[in-house]
């Protein structure tokens, strides 16, 4: 019906249609378009024949190559554990002291431990294990429940106030909120506790407070923190005389700890990680602490 005209630029005819001034050329489809269309379609057909593809009723066409993604994953996992088998067996069977002295195994522990620690522990304890407010420094602070390898492994496995029935349980009482101590008494305790680590110098103004605080400490705190305030590992009560503070050392932070109590939480990793992973993490942390000690690492 419509009559085309020749486009002077390309030399092609138009289709003769026009929409508000827009025309179209009748240019044939360029050969490369046909070529690639056919080539890609051919590839598609071949790929569909080689791979699992068409469904039929209750099953599907498995493909001539017999590739199966579930099987592939299973094989790769097997290969993966074969790569690890040699050193995994040694870490599994040898005791902590032997491994810690082993120049071959410890580099593996450091590499594997770094990833395990990064993926499981770093969110709270920091990527270098240096801790955050509310989460202890694992590199240099004393361990609340003890720092021999068996104890560390046990702490990781059962967690603190965690879901495991064997979990370690620890609770600092809310002396203020539960009305065991009045505000002035707590303030005196704050001054005394801070003076234990040299954060408060004894002066004429606070001498009375420190003395009163010592009295209050003897009455309320020693059952967990010990008479010397150096903490008790049986109940996970921290040493109050050192320079490490999980919840902060400022007057406000210490006041909050005494007023509202604390009940830290660490997941029971035994419910999630394998005994091997926990052993590697234990070794990794011990190694980290040794390195910190060697370099005189600081903590908060």
């Amino acid at each position: 019906m419509s009559v085309g005209e020749r486009d002077p630029v390309t030399g092609h005819m138009t289709t003769g249609h026009e929409w508000n001034g827009i025309k179209e050329l009748h240019t044939p489809v360029p050969k490369p378009v046909w070529f690639f269309l056919i080539a890609f379609t051919l590839f598609g057909v071949i790929w569909v024949l080689l791979m699992p593809s068409f469904p039929y009723g209750t099953g599907y066409f498995k493909g001539w190559l017999g590739v199966d993604q579930k099987q592939t994953v299973a094989e790769r996992l097997q290969e993966g554990s074969a790569d690890r088998a040699a050193w995994v067996a040694r870490i599994d069977s040898e005791d902590f002291a032997t491994i810690l002295k082993d120049g071959e195994l410890m580099p593996i522990v450091r590499e594997t431990g770094h990833t395990l620690f990064g993926d499981n522990c770093a969110a709270c304890h920091g990527i270098g294990g240096t801790g955050n407010s509310g989460y202890p420094n694992l590199g240099s602070a004393p361990m609340l429940w003890g720092d021999d390898p068996q104890t560390i492994a046990q702490t990781i496995a059962v967690g603190i106030n965690g879901a495991d029935p064997q979990t370690r349980v620890s609770q600092m009482l809310a002396f203020g909120r539960d009305q065991m101590l009045e505000r002035p008494a707590i303030l005196q305790l704050v001054t005394y506790v801070r003076s234990l680590s040299g954060l408060e110098e004894k002066t004429a103004e606070n001498a009375a407070a420190i003395d009163a605080g010592r009295e209050l400490f003897a009455q309320n705190c020693v059952s967990c923190h010990g008479e010397d305030a150096k903490g008790l590992k049986d109940v996970g009560a921290p040493d109050l005389t050192d320079r490490f503070w999980i919840y902060g050392s400022g007057r406000e932070a210490v006041y909050q700890s005494i007023y509202g109590g604390r009940q830290g939480h660490m997941p029971s990793w035994g419910l999630r990680l394998s005994p091997l992973d926990i052993k590697i993490l234990t070794l990794y942390i011990i190694d980290l602490r040794e390195q910190q000690r060697a370099t005189g690492g600081s903590g908060t």
């Binding site: 019906m1 419509s2 486009d7 630029v9 390309t10 138009t14 289709t15 249609h17 929409w19 508000n20 001034g21 827009i22 025309k23 179209e24 050329l25 009748h26 240019t27 044939p28 489809v29 360029p30 378009v33 690639f36 269309l37 890609f40 379609t41 590839f43 598609g44 790929w47 569909v48 791979m51 699992p52 593809s53 068409f54 469904p55 599907y60 066409f61 493909g63 590739v67 199966d68 993604q69 993966g80 554990s81 790569d83 690890r84 050193w87 593996i108 590499e111 594997t112 770094h114 990833t115 395990l116 620690f117 990064g118 993926d119 770093a122 969110a123 990527i127």
Partner: protein
Amino acid sequence: MIQGTWIVQCGGVGMVAQLTALERTYAAIILVCVICVGVAMAVAGRGDLMAAHGWIVALFGMVVMALLLRGIDAPDPWEERFREYYDDPTKVGIILSLIWGVIGMFVGVWVAALLAWPDLTFDAAWASFGRLRPVHTSGVIFGFGGNALIATSFHVLQRTTRARLPDQLSPWFVLLGYNLFCVLAATGYLMGLTQSKEYAEPEWYADLWLVIVWVVYFLIYLRTLARRREPHIYVANWYYMAFILVVAILHIVNNLAVPVSIGHAKSYSLFSGVQDAMTQWWYGHNAVAFFLTAGFLGMLYYYLPKRAGRPIYSYRMSIISFWGITFMYMWAGSHHLHYTALPHWVQTLGMVFSLVLLVPSWASAGNALLTLNGAWHKVRDDAVLRFMMLAAIFYGIATFEGSFMAIRAVNSLSHYTDWTVGHVHAGALGWVAMITFGSLYALVPWMWKRPALYSARLVEVHFWLALAGTVVYVFAMWNSGITQGLMWRTYDQNGTLAYSFIDTLVAMHPYYIARTVGGLLFLAGAVVAFYNIWMTISRPAPVDEGAAADLPVEPPAPRAWAQAGE
């Protein structure tokens, strides 16, 4: 005259006076219904977040009602109007599109910054990443892109059929109804309402509302085409119709859900497990295909040849591209689920269709670029046309990358990494936003009968800001994504993973900062565009619009318009 006059025109009297008395009555009835539904939602949903949405619906209805009432007594419009195209909804749609664009891109920069500096939530729940991110995606895709599609489709539809829109109420219903949906979506995300389906987050009542709006939209298309005065249907309309029809199907199927009760916002999807994932990504990938590709190809097919003054290079290539794109895309969604619980055979099919899809996609991009033969000097001199040219190039880049990433082996590296984010933005910034800005720049002077834009220089500034922003963004994400993908899969010689997840975050941090900078450049460009277009509109119109050519050749209805004057 200027801003004030235009706002009045836009906001009420001028545009309301264009409606017939009957249309105004219908509009009032619809608005009363909307307000009643809003109040009913507020009452039924008290104690639930749905009540907040009820009040928003009612308030939206009341604001529009107030605008309507200001002009409700105006005399019936002159019958001469039937000799002109109906462009008021297009004008408002352009402005809404730009407003949503600036908001959506601003939130985009914010969420980009959140990834680099997570404290920017200011401890407010509404400002958390999970809530702001859909505000960004819906804001730019549906707010900016959707309004631009509605506005341009009404314009293109009339010009290429030489028929006026069938009535003056339904286009407003579509435009304003659609924006109500967008408002419900964005406010819902901030309150924490979501179906957790990417790009389909709004809850059941918003989804139902969109179905009604969308059906009316499709009917406008069919009714106008039925009355067309051109023997053939132009390619742009094929694409716009594919966009409207398929989005309706996708939206309905993916959002099939049962609400907890009629008074609760929460609903549960009809699908579960891997079927849910497959339905979602069938929807998600076809949202890319039919919303972000087909719709904007419709835009490209009108504004590019028009601006270049060149005929489309090949009608036959248009046919191959159209049917190739619409057919292949439908099957490609499963490539989003490579190496998952989705059966292997579905993945194979998704990959194969994605690969073949490259050919019609490149045929489209090539057709657009070859159309510019004979007009390359215009591309050099005219930044508006250059926007469209660049869009076609980025369309080619993004579709190549998409097909490449759909290959299972490649996907094993790219999946879940920032590479995906970079790919999406190559398409969204480079293709969708560029063709939108180019088209709007071309369209605004026509719509408001201005001889030219306020400043061609500012278009030039915008062009380079947009290009620089896109390139910085995409390169940052390519680097970040490939770094991330490689770190995730690197084993040391002991057979143990070399990096923890947190190590990859440290490695990505610089790229996240670069990405924020890229986004900021792009946002700056959008603000420049908004200013330029606003100044174009608010300048006084020349006395003689000289738009005689932009008219239907004869009035469609043999009505009593003749008595009105001549």
